[in-house]
């Protein structure tokens, strides 16, 4: 097992280099560079000033030299300095946004699991019942509704009409002067809408997945055996069927690892949440090459690691896989 993990880890290195090379070429091929994006059509900026800025960022070098330099820095885990005028380290810029994005994604993931698993089980056990049908319609509605539209409707209802919840942002302006309990509520109230909206769209996939897994498992012989033994239905469903139906979720979990750090631009913009999605989007729009590369490499790395964890986790949990 350890050898297997070590081999998988080693394999990620050439993969990462390949991914980064392609990304590097693609973003450099996009029209306009960081200097142009900031100075195009500005009469105060002369061609000379533009050239100086290009040299300042090292953009006057050929692309392969720039890539070599970038790769050299990456070898020491240095993501470099952002091309944005704050001139901050890319690692710092990404790092400060991770807690926000991660916490919202983890919370919404938890919410999805807490709702989708029982929903899926119940729908499977009571297949074709009214509950099954209504929940099917409900989760697919959630899947189909555009996030921004739902978000705006909820903001109008809870923010403007009822005034119960704040509309956007992470904390109130008065946050620093609040007591500890009020601080907790302040943060929670800001998170309610974003977490709900992001979870609502994800319910369909997970609950349907759970339902079909469950249906699959319930047909198996060992379930019939369990029932034949005279076990109560509750035990059959939760002890025998559910545990097996949950197995494929390990794969889904592994595949969700990169998603935990990937923010959605639309969603974050609507709620004015300073997360990774917005950062990456702004990076692309201003052609902030080091920032884009940093975000892409982290994303690629997490995807590879996530895949590996899923495979390993699955092998650990399911003896049938291990022996093969």
């Amino acid at each position: 097992m350890l050898r297997y993990i070590a081999r998988r880890l080693l394999l990620t290195v050439p993969l990462l280099i390949g991914i980064s090379l392609i990304s590097f070429l693609v973003i450099h091929a996009a029209p306009g560079g960081p200097v142009e994006m900031a100075t195009d059509l500005n009469p105060k900026v002369t061609a000379e000033a533009r050239e100086r800025l290009r040299a300042y960022y090292g953009l006057d070098q050929p692309v392969h030299v720039q890539y070599a330099q970038w790769l050299g820095r990456m070898a020491t885990l240095d993501f470099g300095q952002s091309f944005s005028r704050d001139g901050r380290q890319v690692s710092e810029k990404i790092g400060e946004r991770i807690p926000v994005t991660l916490s919202i994604n983890v919370l919404s993931m938890l919410l999805i699991f807490l709702v989708a698993v029982p929903l899926g089980i119940y729908s499977a056990v009571r297949k074709d019942s009214w509950f099954d049908r209504i929940s099917t319609v409900a989760v697919f509605t959630g899947f189909a509704v555009p996030t921004f539209w739902l978000a705006l409707l909820l903001m109008i209802l809870f923010g403007v009409k009822l005034g119960w919840l704040p509309i956007s942002g992470l904390v109130s302006l008065e946050y620093d002067s609040l007591g500890p309990a009020a601080k907790v509520w302040d943060r929670t109230s800001h998170l309610l809408l974003p977490v709900f909206v992001s979870a609502f769209g994800g319910l369909a996939g997970f609950s349907r997945y759970m339902r079909s897994n469950m249906l699959e498992v319930i047909r198996q012989d060992y379930i019939a055996t369990a029932r034949a033994k005279g076990l109560p239905e509750r035990k059959v469903v939760f002890r025998h069927a559910m545990r097996n139906a949950l197995l494929p979720f390990i794969t889904i979990l592994g595949l969700s690892v990169p998603g935990l750090l990937g923010g959605s631009v639309i969603f974050e913009s609507i709620f004015a949440i300073p997360g990774l999605g917005q950062l990456f989007y702004q990076g692309v729009m201003s052609r902030d090459y080091p920032l884009i590369m940093g975000a892409l490499v982290i994303g690629a790395f997490l995807t590879l690691i996530g895949n590996m964890l899923a495979d390993v986790g699955y092998a650990l949990a399911d003896p049938r896989i291990r022996t093969e």
Binding site: A30, P31, G32, E36, M37, A38, T39, D40, L41, N42, P43, K44, V45, T46, A47, E48, A49, R50, R52, L53, Y56, S84, R85, D86, G87, R88, K93, E96, R97, F148, L152, M155, I156, G159, V160, G163, P166, I167, S168, G169, L170, L173, E174, S177, E268, S269, I270, F271, A272, P274, Q278, L279, Q282, R287
Partner: protein
């Protein structure tokens, strides 16, 4: 939209005016109480700050924020005339080559150090230093000699008289004692935690979330009434509007749709004052003048007659704008109101086109000349709704006179770099911001038609070239006015652009905030005099 960036330097905080205040609340609750210190104003911004040193930033969010903290030697007053800020007064020698600034005495940086001419000289040196990644060095590289004979005098000399130079000293002056040990000012801590001489002191910057400033009690023009200024980053305009309605922010710029249809409620009127005035910008249809169709002046004039500008303003801007006649804003000293106008007249347009040889010989509704049909493509940038709508109206207007126009929208960077810069276009719909200084050498001079330069339509006119030079050499306002009036006459006659419209700016400010007095320069020129009467103050947890 993006072009609006170009004017950021001269135009900062131009929430400008000329302006009619909506009469929403006659007497009643909004009656002004006595000015009082305290409270905060919360502003919304689509973009986050990228740094506080204006020399090295180029976005309007950064420049707006820096304006609270820093001052220049000069600034534009409420009537758009230059006045002293950190400079008490200045003299220009008769030959226009030497400017002497007399600096204000007793001004202190926010950290208590005195402000002197050393700081000005230091700022100048850093602006022309190749280590400084600034895009704005050009105006300062014209200086042949800069000196500070005493702590309150600063002298600059130029090789030739250069009138826009005076306005260039509106550039924010930086503190030498805090910056001299950093060879690259953009990487100094000051770019993140600014220390200036301005009306507000920096409190905090939470990236992607907000910036906070507090009143500077020692400001040389007196302590601002408002104790705090908070700018929240809200990237989505729809969310920003909901925040405004729910009390999360106190001011923003409305769209014409919001102004007319979504804010006409009793509830909104009791909480907000809406303002309306011409913004500093215009939208135009620009021709590639070397194109065989458009090299003939009569064709361009025919277009001007064929286009119904009023329809565009009503349809695109809900009436919130004015027909444009040239590149300067009506109501400012440099605007010439008596240039040739082109009333909407399709008949006359057809006649002019016929005069230049375009006729519909085969009767298919589209004009031909020498075997070519009059069909071309207009380009504009994607994501700008008003430009796309304008294009649709133009298409109809032109079809009515027998011209077929296709519309193509392109992503901004591709549009500029692949089409405009490479001159691969027939015509474009774009906009310019209007800077306070009338110098437009870069846009109209025949010297500026090279790659990446801004006279991309390829306008060449010897008289305009001469007048542009003259406008740069003349410090006297009357003299400059004469040159620019003539330029506007020529542009109106030649129609290298069909000038379409000047849109209105439509800001809204919460009613508890008093002292907002629109003027030609906008509403923010007297920001430090805005106040909230004691009884109406909302954010009271801050120290006054």
């Amino acid at each position: 939209m993006k072009i609006a960036r170009m004017a950021a330097v001269a135009l900062v905080l131009a929430l400008v005016a000329g302006c009619s205040k909506e009469k929403a609340d006659p007497g009643g609750a909004g009656a002004p109480g006595a000015p009082a210190y305290g409270d905060a104003i919360v502003d919304g911004s689509i973009g986050d700050v990228s740094g506080f040193l204006t020399a090295v930033t180029s976005d309007s969010a950064s420049h707006g924020a820096a304006n609270y903290v820093f001052n220049g030697l000069v600034r534009y007053d409420k009537d758009l005339k230059l006045e002293g800020e950190l400079a008490e007064s200045w003299e220009v020698t008769p030959d226009g080559k030497r400017i002497t600034f007399h600096l204000r005495k007793g001004v202190r940086w926010h950290d208590g150090e005195p402000f002197t001419s050393d700081d000005v000289l230091f700022t100048y040196r850093r602006l022309i230093d190749p280590n400084t990644p600034t895009a704005y060095a050009e105006d300062f590289r014209q200086v042949t000699r800069a000196s500070n004979p005493d702590p309150h005098t600063f002298v600059v000399e130029y090789g030739k008289p250069f009138a826009p130079a005076l306005a260039s000293w509106g550039m924010h002056i930086l503190p030498k004692h805090l910056l001299e040990k950093y060879p690259d000012i953009s990487r100094s801590p000051l770019n993140k935690k600014p220390v200036g001489t301005g009306p507000f002191r920096f409190v905090e910057w939470k990236t992607g979330e907000k910036t906070v400033f507090e009143a500077n009690p020692d400001y040389f023009e007196g302590r601002p009434y408002l104790s705090r200024v908070v700018t929240r980053v809200i990237p989505d305009p729809a969310t920003m509007f909901l925040e405004l309605k729910s009390g999360g922010i106190d001011m923003m710029g409305l769209t014409p749709l919001q102004y007319t249809r979504q804010t006409e409620t009793e509830e909104f009127r009791t909480s907000f004052n809406k303002y309306r005035y011409l913004s500093f910008g215009y939208t135009y249809l620009g021709f590639r003048l070397s194109h065989p169709f458009f090299s003939d002046k009569r064709v361009r004039q025919a277009f001007a007659h064929a286009i119904n500008k009023k329809d565009i303003i009503d349809g695109v801007l809900f009436g919130f704008g004015q027909e444009a006649t040239g590149p300067y804003k009506p109501g400012t000293w440099v605007h010439n109101p008596d240039v040739r106008r082109y009333p909407f007249d399709p008949e006359k347009a057809r006649a002019l086109l016929a005069e230049s040889g375009w006729t519909d010989a085969d009767g298919d509704g589209v004009l031909e000349k020498g075997g070519r049909t009059f069909a071309f493509t207009v380009l504009t940038n994607a994501g700008n709704e008003s430009r796309a709508k304008t294009a649709a109206i133009l298409q109809q207007n032109l079809a009515a006179v027998g011209v077929r126009m296709e519309i193509r929208t392109l992503e901004w960077a591709a549009f500029i770099n692949e089409f405009v810069d490479k001159r691969k276009f027939d015509a474009v719909i774009l906009g310019w911001s209007i800077t306070q200084d009338p110098d437009q050498y870069d846009i109209w001079s025949s010297q500026k038609t090279g790659p990446k330069e801004l006279n991309f339509v390829g306008f060449r006119n010897a008289e305009v070239d001469r007048l542009l030079e003259e406008g740069r050499r003349t410090f006297d306002m009357e003299g400059r006015k004469k040159a620019y009036f003539r330029i506007q006459e020529i542009l109106a006659e030649e129609q290298p652009y069909v000038f379409l419209y000047y849109p209105d700016a439509l800001p809204v400010v919460h009613k508890r905030i008093h002292g907002v007095e629109p003027a030609p320069a906008g509403i923010s020129y007297n920001f430090i005099k805005w106040y909230v009467p004691e009884a109406q103050q909302r954010y009271t947890t801050f120290q006054k």
